[in-house]
């Protein structure tokens, strides 16, 4: 579960606050008061080193660029250029906290992203279902505070989907070739072997970077093709669904029918999904009901009455409808269930950021900042105390 960092930079800029939302898939950053982040780039850093061992620990890394020839590349454009020896890694979360200390900011504030997602949808109480890249989490929020004992996490999320898609391609004997390798390609028949020419003079790229680029291809496939069926997966029904045509960068193209529905079914019903150990995983519906079940019974109607759906993985077609159906089956009939899911991509992926933007621009928020002085006096404990 990622945390959103809100910085107050008051020195030279006209704007009062910056909002950072660092997720495991992408980083969202921008100015408070705006309705969408100015910067949205993947949470990976390309590091080129002169040394041969690839990894650099980030904790000790205060000032960029001082460690003997290390260059960092962030943002999509820079990352996707093939370079020699460029390793790809994800910055550790604690590292970010320490980095703030070197930037001489006057005040900062940390807030749980679940609370901010709820705020962005106009609620201070609700159950936030965040399905992102690495985790699907259900977090109950009551009156602006997270109920930590009710948090339920499941690893079935975007990355799991990607893995399943990879396996599908392996079964179909299709090789994933990222675009940087392709010099030219010919059109082929549906389902036929791809015919393409490799680029000459490709630099020696590292394994991690190559994997990263392949993942990008698979994620594109995942976003365009997969769909969640309305009811639990049924072979006959799936066979009748319309197929979607998709073409890989190397020219291989195919119509995908039943697989489109089968793969995301693992999110809701993990008992049949491949690659899972036993039946210990919870489907999305179960995650939600378990989380609410761990809360005090008095607030349960409040939680069910505002189930906020956020996260990039929820943008799969049919996700919210299926979730609605599952929840209405599992809750007692007298319970009023309301699912809040924004339909635009921007709002669902960035809802935590938007919540931070709203929060930082409130007049009544100004007293909640943790100023430099307070941090120096109190240390990390004051962060725990002041931030919900």
């Amino acid at each position: 579960m990622c945390q959103v960092y809100v910085l107050c930079v008051g020195v030279n800029d006209e704007v009062g606050a910056l909002v950072f939302d660092i997720g495991s898939y992408s980083v969202r950053a921008g100015y408070a008061g705006e309705d969408c982040p100015k910067a949205d780039f993947p949470t990976v850093i390309g590091v080129t080193l002169d040394r041969e061992d690839g990894s650099t620990p980030m904790e000790t890394d205060g000032d960029k660029g001082k460690q003997g020839g290390t260059t960092y590349y962030i943002d999509t454009n820079q990352l996707r250029v093939p370079r020699e020896n460029m390793e790809v890694m994800s910055p550790l979360k604690n590292g970010m906290k320490l980095m703030f200390e070197h930037y001489n900011i006057p005040a900062f504030f940390l807030c749980k992203s679940a609370v901010l997602s709820a705020f962005a949808n106009g609620r201070s109480t609700g159950l936030v279902l965040d399905s992102g890249a690495t985790h699907t989490t259900a977090i109950p929020v009551h009156d602006g505070y997270v109920l930590q004992q009710g948090i339920v996490k499941s690893p079935l999320a975007g990355d799991f989907m990607s893995m399943q898609c990879r396996e599908l391609f392996q079964e179909l004997n299709v090789e994933i070739i990222p675009p940087y390798m392709i010099a030219s390609k010919d059109g082929v028949r549906e389902g036929a072997q791809a015919s393409w020419k490799k680029k000459e003079k490709l630099p020696q790229v590292t394994r991690s970077w190559h994997n990263y680029m392949c993942n990008c291809v698979i994620q594109d496939f995942q976003a365009s093709v997969l769909q969640v069926s309305d009811s639990p997966y049924d072979e006959q029904v799936a066979a009748q669904m319309p197929t979607v045509h998709y073409e890989l960068p190397n020219g291989y193209n195919c119509d995908f029918g039943a697989e489109r529905l089968k793969i995301p079914e693992g999110l809701f019903d993990p008992s049949n999904a491949k690659g899972l150990s036993g039946n210990t995983m919870l489907g999305v519906g179960h995650v939600v009901t378990t989380s609410v079940g761990m809360c005090d019974i008095d607030i349960r109607p409040g939680l069910y009455g505002s189930v906020v759906v956020t996260g990039g993985n929820t943008l799969i077609q049919g996700f919210t409808d299926r979730l609605n159906r599952e929840l209405s089956q599992k809750t007692p009939p007298s319970m009023r269930l309301k699912l809040i899911a924004n339909n635009t991509t921007v709002e669902r992926r960035f809802s935590a950021w938007i919540g931070g933007s709203i929060l930082a621009s409130l007049g009544t928020f100004q007293q909640m900042w943790i100023s430099k002085q307070e941090y120096e006096e109190g240390g990390k404990q004051c962060v725990d105390r002041k931030c919900p």
């Binding site: 009551h142 009156d143 005090d296 019974i297 007049g363 009544t364 900042w369 307070e374």
Partner: protein
């Protein structure tokens, strides 16, 4: 875009009221000069912004002039437009400010109008906190000591309450379970409110009766348990409950029907009794021709018995035979019955309507109807009695010994409505539809009745 005020400013001309800061009145209010003109002319023109229809309601063409004291219609009906650019620009300044709600006196910067420099931060007044009582060591030792709670734990509880503004759900969530025991929300609330209560009592000035909030932890716990059970009901249980409620409703309606029928019968009988009594009294009086000791207390003849002939109060002339007409409320069967008896007895169906005849004929028909109803009720009761007798005999044969004795008692006993006895040994009535026990199943199979409604006459 340069407005007049800006141009004047640039050329440093003076004109108009430039002095003083711009106020909302200047932007939104109407010009004061124009109102004078409006009062002078008695115009029939409708004011701007007022809809045509509204104006037409007030002043139509043919009516008089508008009232002598016209109100200022420019105020109300106009959609106000902000007049921008009429004054000098108010400068903004990037200035530091302190927020009185903060404890550390940190200085932040923001844009504010120079006119508001020095004023308090307007949002500081929203910083409301809940008053959580603070106790001293002595107070704790003297009054607030409790076996289940250590001082450290109590302190921890109060600290959390202050941090989270008495949101007990959050307090319970953040409570330190490793260090202290696992407490439920009710435990925390109980401890908190008991301490508050004791402190108010202790600290209250002598002589005053302080108001203490009493928290009933036991009640809360039971309530939550109930809620949990309600929440965790399976669909089967819900269905069963629905089913039981329906059965209950059926029983109640049947009971009502029974009672109504019994009442109707009673009325009928009473009517019959009273009419016969009336007749006898009249005959006696007329035979003896004695000064009548009119027992003016004629028992009121219930109106459901017999036919009530309406008293004609029509305007104009009506023939007397109208009074002989049967009212429309009498059903076909009764009319037929009346006709039949009249024919049998050789009475004319439509006699000559003299005063006496009319009255007697009406009475006759009323009595005939009463008789018919009584006959029907009688045959109904006979029929029911027969049925019950058959049933009783059938049960005697089929049922076990245990069922019989009580079955017999049941016949005479008044049924108790609303009781759904699944064992249903006492109630032969109303066992329809309930989950069947072996006994009652046999009874149902042997009973031949088609209707499930049984009536029992109250003794």
């Amino acid at each position: 875009m340069a407005t007049g005020a800006d141009v004047r400013d640039i050329l440093e001309l003076t004109g108009g009221d430039n002095d003083g800061p711009i106020s909302k009145k200047d932007l939104i209010n109407s010009d004061k000069k124009k109102t004078k003109k409006a009062t002078e002319t008695l115009t029939f023109k409708r004011p701007e912004g007022m809809h045509r229809e509204v104006y037409a309601l007030l002043y139509s063409d043919k009516k008089d002039a508008p009232p002598l004291l016209p109100s200022d219609t420019t105020q109300g009906y106009r959609t106000v437009k902000a007049k921008l650019g009429c004054k000098k620009v108010r400068p903004w300044k990037w200035m530091p400010f302190t927020n009185p709600a903060r404890r550390d006196g940190a200085i932040f910067h923001h844009w504010r109008r120079t006119a508001e420099e020095g004023k308090d931060y307007p949002f500081a007044r929203f910083n409301k906190t809940v008053q959580v009582p603070v106790y001293s060591e002595q107070e704790y030792q003297m009054h607030l000591h409790d076996d289940g709670w250590t001082k450290a734990e109590t302190d921890h509880l109060f600290d959390l309450c202050k941090r989270f503004d008495l949101r007990f759900i959050v307090v319970h969530d953040r409570y330190d379970h490793q260090q202290y025991r696992k407490r439920s929300v009710e435990d925390l609330k109980e401890r908190y409110y008991s301490i508050c209560g004791k402190l108010t009592k202790v600290r209250a000035a002598s002589g005053t009766e302080p108001k203490i909030y009493i928290f009933d932890a036991g009640h809360e716990r039971r309530r939550k348990e109930q809620l949990e059970k309600l929440f965790n009901r399976t669909p089967e249980q819900v269905a069963e409950e629905e089913y039981l409620i329906q059965e209950l409703r059926k029983i109640e309606t049947r009971k009502k029907e029974r009672e109504k029928k019994a009442q109707d019968l009673q009325k009928l009988i009473k009517a019959a009794d009273t009419t016969t009594e009336l007749r006898r009294a009249e005959k006696r009086v007329s035979k003896k021709k004695l000064p009548q000791k009119r027992e003016t207390e004629k028992p009121a003849v219930p109106e459901t018995a017999g036919i009530k002939f309406p008293d004609f109060k029509s305007a104009g002339v009506t023939p007397r035979s109208h009074r002989m007409k049967l009212p429309s409320s009498v059903g076909q069967k009764k009319i037929k019955a009346i006709e039949q008896i009249l024919i049998e007895q050789g009475v004319d169906l439509n006699p000559m309507p003299t005063e006496e005849i009319v009255q007697m004929f009406n009475e006759l028909r009323s009595d005939l109807v009463l008789l018919y109803e009584l006959k029907q009720a009688h045959s109904n009761c006979e029929y029911e009695q027969q049925m019950l007798r058959h049933r009783y005999e059938a049960l005697l044969k089929a049922g076990s010994g245990g069922g019989c004795g009580t079955a017999g008692a049941g016949l005479a006993a008044t049924p108790q409505g609303g009781e759904l006895n699944v064992e249903a040994k006492e109630q032969i009535i109303d066992v329809v539809g309930a989950p069947l026990t072996p006994n009652s199943r046999k009874r149902r199979e042997s009973a031949s009745s088609s209707s499930s409604v049984k009536k029992v006459k109250k003794p």
